[in-house]
Subunit: 134 residues, 3 copies
């Protein structure tokens, strides 16, 4: 019941809808009722749930975090690496989401999709999907 | 073991203590030991855990997010809708919380309650409560 | 399968790597495959997952939140207590993280550790670790 997939990001900061990949993992798991845990195994990227019908929402989220957390701003971590802002943003949004499964389907609202948010790309990101059957 | 309740919000932005509704759902579920997953099924509202003994804390959270994420600020999503700021704030706080259940009671600290945060009201919001028995 | 440990923080705001304590709790639980839920039982501290190889990342996260949420800023909660900023930051980062367990080991990326973030210290903080076996 463990599933992992990779996402190749193409830009320094980017939002990517991964709902279909998670839905495929749920189908493969055979879990009818329970939970699905989606976690990116990196500290400069995040998993969030929000609307992707307008892909600009992901861009607005990245833009807003960029205004609150400037890329260059005397961050201490920038003394040894140049991606402190990526770590800070990833900590704020968090690495994972938990989603219920009901009769084999993810329990999401009409305007809720699952997104990977890249803050230090382009990179290959590993996403772990794990299940609990109830 | 699936439970859903609605919350009617009364203002554009508002925090509402939903702890009693979740406690009632736990009692109804009959789960003695396990977990409770509380998720709002919308992309412009959030579930958080914090103190409600002073209801102003929820207002301060909304105020702080309003300063960091201005309501009007050339967000891309505002070209097709006027609630980009609501989506951004909901993404930051997240749609769900997981809470342990011990002998039928939620495992919360003395000053922890469960709140729904409305960022695009007033609306009827649907909250899903799901359980895992351990 | 319930485990609690305390963390004594030494400063008003501080990040502390608690990964080893969680790993010890997992070992004690005997859970081979499942999930581990780590939650701080307070409303002015948070649990996050990020890199601690450079301990300055935790300091940068605290610094960034301090810029976005000023310590003194006419917060309503400050009328009855002086820690509104601590509550706001704790709400943004959240009180808990869920981590999968595979063959007795936490499923974390190479640069992911578990941190307690103190926003209103120094204090003794209680951390609850609960398990689900799959």
């Amino acid at each position: 019941m463990a599933h992992t997939f990779n996402v190749d990001t193409q830009a320094p900061q980017q939002s990517i809808d991964i709902t279909e990949k998670v839905v495929a993992a749920v189908a493969e798991s055979g879990v009818d009722d329970g939970f699905c845990h989606v976690m990116v195994l990196h500290s400069t990227a995040s998993i969030i749930i929000n609307e992707t019908a307008d892909p600009n929402i992901g861009r607005d989220v990245i833009d807003a975090l960029g205004r609150a957390v400037p890329t260059r701003s005397d961050w201490l971590h920038d003394r040894i690496d140049d991606n402190a802002h990526s770590h800070i943003k990833a900590a704020i949004l968090g690495p994972s989401e938990m989603i219920a499964i009901d009769q084999g389907a993810l329990v999401l609202g009409k305007w809720q999709e699952i997104m990977l948010i890249e803050f230090d790309g382009p990179r290959e990101r590993q996403v772990s999907v794990r299940f609990l059957s109830s």
